[in-house]
Symmetry: C2
């Protein structure tokens, strides 16, 4: 058995991870109905004006603005109605002084008109329209190109496509858009004891948990999980698994990076790549490794489900989002008094799960191997490596899952 020779601090681990980020370069085209949340891979310039014609911003009457000068309730302007203009149907009439056309919101302004008077400021008798308020040129008119002018940059490369940006693409007639591909993330649990749910575990075996927790994390943060079957505890099996994952954008193994004789991920990395760190002074999650295998970043996560998922939140999520070109994740936090004293391991930065009940944070951590340490928690608090006790009633900042 080989104990850890050394660990690095969480800050140092984060520095090395930041330095190893290579944002994805591969792109693809997706239909705009599936583009929300994706990252634009090129600028998009409008090929047309939006709106493509001057249009009424109100239900009312299209007028020559000069005709309405000085109009009031007692001295209305009187205009003759030439047409009714509905949306989608340009009018063939020309509005000359003394005339007007009824017009719907969004309908194209007829030739000659330069303003719209809203219906609430008018009255109608036969085809004579009384106008009770003056309108200046452009009043209640959406001019051609007011929203987007031909040649405007509608989307910049790197923009995350929010619902409104998808809408802007639709407005200029785009049916699809070039986006950065989602990183493909191989997920593999190592260990002779690990079996997939649906099979019957033999004595000494347990169900694979990490493949599912890691898959959920990867999906939620811009990646495509590519789950692999569990690998046996031999160097050959792990090297073969690494080779199988060579085309992925990121590889995440769990288990096999602790210090037991059979923990062979370290040996497999030595044969195929370069270890960047192995062992972090955090709890849970000390036996976490990070390497580069022929250019592909590799995470060796602890096999314990809570250690694995905890470090996925802390280390994998920021790394994956950076590769995916997504902005950093900013989980919500709440302040709460601690419901029970916590004693922490000195010298290790601790992530301690808590449950919120009536605004009080109660310790929820059971053991690194217990998935219920997380599944029955609402969030976690951090205890720095130079602190060993957090007293009952101390105010703590809870980062919510």
């Amino acid at each position: 058995m080989r104990p850890f020779t050394s660990t690095i601090s969480l800050d140092e681990a984060r520095r090395r991870l930041d330095a190893a980020v290579r944002p994805i370069a591969r792109t693809e085209r997706v239909a705009i109905e599936h583009a929300a949340g994706r990252v634009a891979a090129s600028d998009v310039t409008a090929p047309m004006d939006v709106p493509p014609f001057a249009r009424s911003a109100m239900d009312g009457y299209a007028v020559v603005a000069a005709d309405t000068a000085g109009a009031s309730k007692s001295t209305p302007a009187r205009l003759r109605q030439l047409d009714r203009i509905y949306t989608g149907q340009p009018s063939s009439v020309t509005i000359a002084p003394g005339t007007c056309a009824e017009i719907a919101t969004g309908a194209p302004l007829p030739a000659g008109a330069d303003a719209v008077v809203m219906v609430e400021e008018t009255a109608k008798t036969g085809d004579e329209i009384q106008i009770f308020a003056p309108a200046t040129a452009g009043h209640h008119v959406g001019r051609r190109g007011a929203d987007i002018a031909a040649g405007d940059r509608v989307i910049s490369s790197g923009d995350v496509l929010s619902p409104s940006r998808v809408g802007a693409l639709a407005a200029i007639g785009c049916v699809d858009v070039e986006v950065f591909a989602k990183p493909r993330v191989a997920i593999l649990s190592t260990g002779n004891e690990v079996v997939e749910p649906g099979r019957t575990p033999k004595p000494g075996q347990i169900f694979d948990v990490n493949r599912f927790t890691l898959g959920a994390i990867v999906s939620a943060h811009g990646g495509v999980p590519e789950p692999q079957h569990p690998a046996q505890d031999t160097v050959d099996a792990l090297v073969a698994a690494l080779d199988t994952c060579a085309q992925m954008d990121l590889v995440v193994f769990s288990g096999g990076s602790s210090v037991g004789e059979r923990d062979l991920v370290v040996d497999a990395i030595a044969l195929r790549g370069e270890m960047i760190f192995h062992g972090i002074a955090v709890r849970p999650g000390k036996p976490t490794a990070f390497a580069r295998v022929k250019g592909t970043p590799f995470f060796g996560m602890p096999g314990n489900p809570t250690s694995c998922l905890s470090n996925a939140y802390i280390l994998l999520v920021p790394f994956l989002r950076a590769i995916a070109r997504l902005p950093p994740h900013t989980p919500r936090t709440v302040q709460a008094p601690l419901g029970r004293r916590i004693v922490s391991a000195a010298g290790r930065h601790q992530f301690y799960t808590v449950r919120l009940r009536n605004g009080i944070a109660f310790p929820a951590f059971k053991g690194s191997g217990d998935i219920t340490s997380l599944s029955q928690a609402d969030g976690y608090i951090e205890i720095p490596s130079d602190q060993s006790v957090v007293e009952e009633r101390a105010m703590v900042m809870v980062t919510l899952f």
Copy 2:
């Protein structure tokens, strides 16, 4: 043309929406790899203990605890090693007093042993193991069922399935889980002027924007968008569209709920359902309607893209999440000084989009019809109906998109 006879306040609109929520009752089974973010529709009880056997929590030696009493560096306990126990492979040996077995983290504890001494507190000479520290019964042992005991409730109906809860389901061997169905949301743009991207607009026509912005919103908040082709501006066409959408869980039309003669959604609702409100004292988005059509809730959103999307954030998202049984959405907010004075419409609650530049919030609102009012904004501020001016440099709370 029919002006609004009255509007209701935003608070009143929210009250009526809350009262109209009927959380979805339909359920379905999904594979656990696709269950993250879904809402459990029934309790899940563990059919087995997790772990299903007592296991070592450390790499070290499985011992009879009593053998180690008083052990120290200078007076080690000396034990004879009987076996090496790897994960996934139960040992057939029984640990009697005076003996031990090397054991890997996660491996099943052999019969007779009741504690594990970590490798760092041992030394090995041939098959004699020296133990340098005493261990009490249960030390470094994960007892059978310590994480989850058979009969424990692992998931409660109504739980949102976080990554760790998916992991807990995997741990007890579930391959799928019963969840509430995602509400199916019909999305339809009305208006003769609306054409789908990919077609060539005729004079007076514009591309459909709302179908895409609403679809993105629905997907992001737990619904399944079911886009429909745009409907023409006739009562017959709208009634036919309502009938087509009868099997949906929620129906969202945009356009046609303003007050023009051709705005016929109101007439269509009168033929098929019951209007709950029509017209809200907000800006943008006054001409928003809400109805019930043969039991199915119906939103009539404004046709203007920014009005439509703005009210989708404010009214549709909370309603949809409540139907989907998801917890309320809590967007992030930041405080910032306002970069330029804003004059607001008195008597209407205003949502004013802003752009953040160097920590200063600059007004981004152009017009209700301009999608760039939103696509070039980072969030919005709210100006209550009794306030008409927000001064430059005033601190405002920006709700981020």
